[in-house]
């Protein structure tokens, strides 16, 4: 039973990770097609841009909610990293409670905006914007669940902070 659930979690984790990976691949290929069509065939296309921006939004919001790991997240850990485990638990309880509360309050209005955007379609692929933007609702819900979990475990005293490997830390932000 335990093994099953463990395996299930691994599969789920892989599937969650595969989404942004595939989207990034799609973005990469779309750009190559775009350059090829314009420079080599002299027949520029525009739909590639649309695929790329959609992929970009989904990579970010999916990647930072559904498939996020705590070690991937950029935090200002001057204080957080230095405090004792007990204090850290209190910190976790506080920040997760704040986040869950505000995201939950924002959920109805966000839903309202996203479903309102049904009114317009994307330019080339004619996809209704409520579908494109639905990822923001996913983002809020997944974040509420994740931080709800953090809140719960911190409250119960279970240590879920992931082992911090210095290279993992260095990996988290290649943008600088």
């Amino acid at each position: 039973m335990q093994i099953m659930s463990h395996r299930l979690r691994r599969v789920a984790r892989h599937a969650a990770d595969a989404v942004p990976a595939l989207l990034l691949t799609a973005m990469f290929l779309a750009f190559i097609v775009q350059v090829f069509m314009r420079y080599v065939l002299n027949q520029p296309v525009g739909w590639t841009v649309e695929i790329c921006v959609m992929a970009w939004i989904w990579i970010i919001l999916w990647g930072q909610s559904v498939s996020a790991r705590e070690t991937d997240e950029i935090r200002f850990d001057i204080v957080y990293a230095g405090v004792r485990l007990q204090t850290k638990r209190v910190f976790r309880i506080l920040f997760s409670a704040c986040l869950v509360a505000i995201y939950a309050i924002a959920l109805p209005a966000t839903w309202d905006y996203v479903s309102f955007m049904r009114i317009e379609k994307t330019s080339y692929l004619d996809i209704r914007y409520n579908w494109v933007f639905s990822i923001f609702v996913v983002f809020l819900i997944a974040s509420i669940l994740r931080y709800g979990w953090i809140f719960w475990t911190a409250l119960r005293g279970i240590d879920t902070t992931e082992e911090v490997d210095p290279l993992a830390v260095s990996r988290k932000d290649f943008s600088e």
């Binding site: 525009g46 309102f116 009114i119």
Partner: protein, 305 residues
């Protein structure tokens, strides 16, 4: 009586002629209306002015007809090449039955149109020196057009190969030859210094560039008749001045570009016009145009030879 707060979102920069006009409107109505101008798309992301107004998060916007056409396909008639001939024609269309018809459609989605805001007529600006007289001469020419399929189709409709590209990258792309040309009103060519990296401006005049000054219908209806009257008059006056300023600027820039060593000339516009209208009429865009509207618009213009 309350002094309503109206936030106006525009994408133009603070130094633009139109920004001056917006400020003039704000000053003129100040006694009765608190009109706050946000230029540079700082208040609402570019392209979401309409939905922001519809959702009650914005009162006024400078809205491109292309964006309105996203929700009202009939509006795309004003975004097609060679439908509007010049500023006077634009004004006549909005003042007449066609304008009333289009404005009524806008009211249905919660937008009240105050007045069109002219910002220049789009001309083709090319790096290669080959002379362009007909649409056939643009065949295979990579022309940067704004993103979106309506804009891209405009490029196709004048015979070029359109490609989308961020506005801030156009200069470099012209210089390196990544694109052969771009289309914009002359003041834009000047502001972005495109004349430094191109050899000619073909005065195709394929699109009369304008936005519409728009206010949310509910906001409009909640104002007193005096306030409405005041805002309407102030807007028309300020925009009329801004329109004249744009026309003067365009005229003086033709000479400037010639002095800079560019070839500036008019092609066979009739050939372009015929080619473009044929392209549009066989496209999906024309399918959404109300019956008889094209004729009604044409009737308001100068009869074409």
């Amino acid at each position: 009586q309350d002094r309503p707060v109206l936030r106006l979102s525009s994408v133009v920069s603070d130094t633009d002629i139109r920004a001056t006009a917006f400020q003039e409107i704000a000053d003129a109505v100040a006694e009765q209306i608190d009109l706050q101008v946000y230029n540079g798309a700082t208040l609402v992301p570019q392209g979401s002015e309409i939905t922001a107004i519809q959702r009650g998060n914005l009162e006024m916007g400078i809205v491109p007809p292309q964006d309105i056409a996203n929700q009202i396909p009939e509006w795309s008639i004003l975004t097609a090449a060679y439908v509007l001939q010049d500023v006077d024609h634009l004004k006549a269309v909005f003042d007449g039955d066609v304008g009333a018809q289009l404005n009524a459609m806008a009211e249905e989605i919660g937008l009240h149109i105050i007045t069109p805001v002219y910002f220049g007529t789009r001309q083709v600006n090319l790096a290669p020196e080959t002379e362009v007289m007909t649409p056939e001469d643009l065949s295979g020419v990579t022309l940067r057009m704004p993103g979106g399929d309506a804009w891209q189709f405009l490029g196709t409709a004048i015979g070029a190969s359109p490609t989308p590209l961020a506005y801030s990258e156009v200069y470099t792309a012209l210089q390196t030859g990544a694109i052969d040309g771009q289309d914009n009103p002359l003041p834009n060519d000047y502001n972005m210094k495109f004349y430094e990296v191109t050899s000619q401006i073909v005065l195709t005049g394929h699109l009369v560039g304008f936005d519409v000054l728009t206010i949310g219908s509910e906001v409009w209806n909640s104002m007193t008749p005096e306030q409405q009257e005041l805002l309407q008059t102030a807007s028309e006056e300020a925009i009329a001045k801004s329109t004249q300023a744009h026309l003067d600027r365009e005229a003086e820039l033709v000479q400037f570009f010639k002095d800079e060593g560019l070839k500036v000339y008019e092609p066979d516009r009739e050939a372009f016009r015929t080619f473009a209208q044929a392209k549009y009429l066989e496209s999906d865009f024309a399918a959404s145009w109300p019956d008889g509207m094209l004729d009604a618009i044409n009737a308001l213009g100068t009869p074409s030879n």
